[in-house]
């Protein structure tokens, strides 16, 4: 028989918090995927959708902050509950930032939609995007399932993204040298590389937060 605990309402509120983060996580991941689709295959509706999602996540994060404050005030959590709540706040803010970066990428798509981008730097971005998508997904899973193994993988993947960023930087610069007229839109592509690298950092931070929440130690 499952043990019944007192503080059932408190447990319910913690579950709600987790559900909210799950929703925020899924929405952020979807927004990210759409941003990448529209970058490679322009779709104005998708761009609008991603930008709107960024604003929505911002609101969801405010709600999450309100909920956590209310839980702290009413329930005065300690130990693992406190660590979970503290981490939820941080993860919420990372997700918000990721979705805004996705919106930034979507906006770049608008600027470069009619340009003929050289293949090499575009491939670099594609490679980065693939790993970053995986990282976003893993970061959310690691936090929700409190999975330290997945959280640790994020470190290795972030290193790969950093390397790819350097490659992209080289290739983009080279394209700029090759064709001066390309500078205008290649700068935007450089922004995309930077945005992707920032998203990867946020995903890694969620993983670190997960490890801290479980072990109380800095990863």
């Amino acid at each position: 028989m499952k043990k019944r605990y007192p503080r059932i309402l408190f447990q319910k509120r913690l579950k709600e918090l987790r559900d909210d983060l799950e929703e925020m996580g899924e929405t952020t991941l979807k927004a990210y995927k759409k941003a990448m689709i529209t970058l490679f295959d322009y779709d104005e509706e998708l761009v609008k959708n991603v930008i709107k999602t960024g604003e929505e996540i911002d609101k969801l994060n405010y709600n999450l902050e309100h909920k956590t404050m209310s839980i702290i005030a009413a329930e005065q959590p300690v130990a693992k509950d406190l660590r979970f709540i503290e981490s939820s706040l941080k993860v919420g803010s990372h997700l918000k930032r990721m979705s805004l970066l996705a919106a930034n990428i979507a906006e770049v798509a608008r600027h470069i939609k009619d340009e003929q981008i050289p293949e090499k730097p575009m491939d670099d971005i594609k490679n980065m995007a693939e790993i970053v998508e995986n990282m976003v997904s893993k970061s959310i899973t690691s936090f929700l399932n409190q999975d330290m193994d997945i959280a640790r993988e994020l470190h290795r993947e972030d290193d790969k993204v950093d390397d790819l960023f350097d490659t992209a930087l080289n290739d983009i610069t080279k394209s700029m040298f090759d064709e001066k007229d390309a500078i205008y839109y290649m700068v935007y592509l450089l922004f995309v590389a930077r945005f992707l690298e920032r998203i990867a950092d946020r995903a890694e931070s969620i993983g670190d937060r997960t490890i801290f929440m479980i072990t109380c130690e800095k990863p």
Binding site: Y5, P6, R7, Q76, V78, A79, K80, R83
Partner: protein
């Protein structure tokens, strides 16, 4: 580390009932130590062992050592009245004597043989000031203590305790009968007193333990499950049972 009290393998029985089981704990000087745990886990029995209050119960029996400044307080040579002067106690419900405010604080001094009126007056004033009560009662010292509010009565009991200059103050849920404002005043008082006294507080209020204490011990079924710095206990306890208790998951 400088320990005021060292308890080694303490076992306490009332008749056949085994109340405390192999309890060992070292209490630091001039620090607040909180004892937490569910009702009936032995916290009160434990602190009552520290000034031999349990001696008043016929069926009480103990094994193990309780050292105050390195000396066994259960040594037959120890004068219990003198011990209780060194280890004072404040109870759950304020228990002023049905006497004037002045007499309540002066009582302990007189019991311990101080006769000089000037000294007594000075100590009463000092104790009431230390207990953050002086300003509220200085104009009515001859009035009955029973007319004070619950929070004031509790601070009076603390003043009475510190008047005899103990080394250790035991507090058994000192705020559980008080409103939040009075509780805050007592907690502020504990913060101020800790530089001069070693304080051990039993509390059912987890947040109070985190607010006032530096060190916490968790009791369960007569045993100390875990003890350590309060921050550690309330943020990352080692034992699952501690975690379950402080997070309210005890079914």
């Amino acid at each position: 580390m400088d320990y005021r009290i060292e308890v080694e393998k303490l076992n306490v029985y009332f008749d056949e009932l085994h109340i405390l089981k192999d309890v060992s704990l070292k209490i630091n000087k001039n620090m607040v130590t909180a004892l937490i745990g569910p009702s009936g886990c032995g916290k009160s029995t434990f602190i009552r062992t520290l000034n031999r209050m349990n001696d008043l119960i016929d069926t009480f029996r103990k094994e193990g050592k309780v050292l105050l400044d390195g000396e066994d307080i259960y040594d037959p040579k120890v004068d219990v009245v003198d011990l209780r002067k060194r280890v004072g106690m404040v109870f759950q419900k304020p228990n002023p004597f049905p006497k004037s405010i002045f007499d309540n604080v002066a009582y302990g001094l007189k019991v311990h043989g101080i006769k000089d009126k000037d000294i007594i007056e000075e100590k009463v004033e000092d104790s009431l000031k230390a207990a953050a009560l002086w300003d509220e009662v200085k104009d009515k010292l001859d009035k009955s203590a029973m007319g004070l509010s619950g929070g004031q009565q509790q601070r009076l009991c603390i003043a009475r305790t510190i008047a005899v200059e103990p080394e250790v103050i035991l507090m058994d849920e000192p705020c559980s009968a008080l409103d939040p404002i009075s509780t805050t005043k007592i907690e502020d008082l504990i913060h101020r007193l800790k530089k001069d006294y070693t304080i051990i507080i039993v509390t059912h209020n987890m947040q109070q333990a985190t607010r006032v204490s530096k060190y916490t011990a968790f009791f369960l079924n007569g045993e100390i499950i875990e003890s350590g710095p309060t921050d550690k206990i309330f943020i990352e306890p080692c034992d699952k049972r501690t975690e379950d208790y402080i997070t309210g998951r005890f079914g």
